[in-house]
């Protein structure tokens, strides 16, 4: 059992190192090229805040291209248009994620509708699962032999 735990810990550490290394590469690459539009687009599609840019800006420091912010925002705005939809709202809620109010006011309505529906459906599913679990539990209880009778 102890050996198994050790293997998991090593694996976890390796994964973490790998992730940090990838991140470092991403930043270096991003600072030196002009893929900021794409980065902005992906950021919005992932439902992340526009302020994600600030992290990269600080890390790139002097290497930050002059047009980085503008192109990032162009991509981000385009990404928002794809992200702020009914489906996306629904999926966000269904995945149990919080509504971060990322969508600007004028694009928010559809997303909110989807999110509300997704949230309701998720809640219904949870309730249904709970009901089924309760039922199963009750059935188990009912099937268990009564020691007093025995």
């Amino acid at each position: 059992m102890k050996n198994l735990i050790a293997i998991f810990l090593v694996a976890a550490l390796l994964t973490a190192c790998q992730s940090t290394s990838d991140n470092a590469t991403d930043i270096t690459t991003l600072c030196n090229n002009d893929s900021w539009t794409e980065f902005g687009h992906k950021t919005a599609l992932a439902g992340k805040s526009v302020r994600t840019f600030n992290t990269y800006k600080d890390k790139c420091a002097d290497k930050l291209p002059q047009t980085a912010k503008e192109t990032y925002l162009t991509g981000f705005r385009a990404g928002l248009k794809e992200f702020c939809t009914y489906d996306s709202g629904y999926k966000t809620a269904e995945a149990g994620k919080e509504n971060t109010k990322l969508c600007p006011l004028e694009l928010r309505a559809e997303f909110e509708l989807g999110y509300t529906k997704g949230y309701k459906d998720l809640k219904d599913k949870k309730n249904e699962a709970k009901r089924l679990a309760d039922q199963a539990e009750q059935r188990k209880m009912a099937e268990r032999p009564n020691p007093q009778k025995g």
Partner: protein, 461 residues
């Protein structure tokens, strides 16, 4: 809060209003008469105050911030509000908050950022009429009338019902697309603000330019009934009268405007000219004297008046006018003195004071040897006085001046003809014709003189 527009208005003096800037050309008989009106002022809201929810919704999460910013704006802390708004990415702000940011840039005269921000708002919510209106104002201020017109037009098409939007759209239509495209908008602006002078004047200008004189006159009559002491309205009345060839009415209206304080040089000149046309000479002379009674004498004006007076043979009045100005002559520049003495010479000729006339012409040319009018007039006088040598010399001098060359060469040719020196006359005419080929009639004259010369040769041989 944004509705406190009027308190924050400023005058946009750089705008040129077609109406007041317009000079209306009179009918054929009064073709040279143009009445000038003062430029109007258009008002623009510089800063329209903090955001009002009626225009565009703010996001629920912004309520608290909006309230705080509102109180800061009430305390006139615009820079602090801007700093706070700039701490957000534009995309994080609702269009309403972003509009507020643009308006603050506008009020702080950072027009480039204001424009960018307004356009940013419109890219997100193209139907925001207030933003179209503000951007229109911004472009108007920056003298970009086509862009301004576009946004006012957008504001109207998205349902704006503000008089200022209709009025400014009308003004821009008037300047960019002609009178007919402006009339309806001016009427709408006037329907909302019937007492607003700039809409009344704008509509009047549009109706006048569209040659809808009856409507313009009806409006003007109504306005004059309300404001009989408004000299601008009387000037408009004069313009309308000139357009309809009603010279008498034009003169009456101009006199009303003058009585109410009108002092524009050109308008006084027109009144004088109309008086001369109507043979009311006494009043014309009164106007001339009053008009010339300034610390610095306007010689161009004097020259014009004296020319007119001479044209109607009022040389005595011209003489009096010159006598009255004699005290100012010494303070004038030599070129102006030269003009003065030329007129003195003309008056002297009319009075048959020939020696004095010659003396004045000599004096005029001493003061300014390049006074073309003096050279030509003196040459004509010398010709009439049969002093051909002097006349020839004067014409030769005048011919050197580009503006007088044609007149001098023709005069010289005429002088030779008078002296029966046909060969010299022919040479001069050929010289004129080669320089001024548009004088077609000279070809015939040249042929006639050639024939005369041929006949003379035959007779002499």
């Amino acid at each position: 809060m944004l509705t406190i527009i009027k308190k924050k208005m400023f005058t946009l003096s750089c705008l040129i209003c077609l109406f007041y800037g317009t000079t209306v050309t009179a009918s054929e008989s009064n073709a040279a008469l143009t009445i000038k009106l003062a430029k109007p002022t258009f008002v623009l809201p510089m800063f329209t105050g903090p955001y009002s929810e009626r225009e565009a919704s703010i996001a629920p999460e912004e309520y608290e911030t909006a309230e705080r910013l509102r109180s800061m704006l009430d305390s006139d802390e615009k820079e602090a509000v801007l700093k706070e708004l700039e701490s957000f990415f534009d995309i994080e702000l609702s269009p309403a908050m972003l509009t507020l940011k643009a308006q603050i840039y506008f009020s702080l005269k950072d027009y480039k950022k204001a424009e960018e921000t307004f356009l940013n708002v419109l890219s997100r919510k193209p139907q925001l009429v207030r933003v179209h209106r503000d951007l229109g104002q911004l472009y108007l201020l920056q003298d970009k009338p086509k862009l301004a017109r576009h946004h006012f037009s957008e504001a109207v098409s998205f349902g704006s019902n503000e008089a200022i939007v209709h009025g400014q759209l009308a003004y821009l239509n008037l300047t960019l697309h002609g009178a007919f495209s402006a009339i309806t908008s001016y009427q709408q602006a006037m329907a909302m603000q019937p007492e607003e002078v700039q809409w009344q004047q704008g509509l009047l200008a549009a109706l006048s330019q569209a040659k809808m004189y009856e409507s313009a006159q009806a409006l003007l009559t109504e306005l004059l009934a309300k404001n009989p002491a408004d000299k601008e309205l009387w000037l408009n009345q004069a313009i309308l009268a000139l357009n309809t060839n009603d010279t008498r009415q034009a003169l009456v209206s101009l006199e009303m405007a003058i009585m109410l304080g009108e002092s524009d040089d050109d308008n006084i000149k027109i009144a004088t000219q109309l008086h001369l046309q109507q043979h009311s000479y006494d009043r014309a002379v009164v106007l001339i004297n009053r008009h010339l009674d300034k610390p610095v004498l306007d010689m161009v004006l004097l020259n014009e008046y004296l020319t007119w007076l001479n044209q109607v043979d009022m040389w005595q009045q011209a003489g009096k006018l010159l006598d009255g100005l004699a005290s100012k002559v010494e303070t004038m520049k030599p070129a102006k003195q030269s003009v003065f003495y030329t007129h003195k010479a003309k008056v002297a000729i009319k009075k048959n004071q020939n020696k004095q006339a010659g003396r004045y012409y000599t004096l005029a040319l001493e003061k300014d040897p390049t006074n073309g009018d003096a050279l030509i007039d003196y040459a004509l006088y010398a010709t009439a006085d049969k002093d051909y040598v002097k006349a020839e010399l004067l014409y030769t001098r005048a011919a050197v001046l580009p503006t007088k060359m044609k007149q001098a060469l023709l005069g010289k040719a005429q002088l030779y003809l008078n002296m029966r020196e046909h060969k010299s006359a022919l040479q001069e005419l050929q010289k004129v014709y080669s320089r001024f080929p548009e004088l077609h009639y000279l070809a015939e004259q040249i042929e006639i003189i050639k024939n005369i010369i041929r006949t003379e040769v035959k007779v002499n041989s």
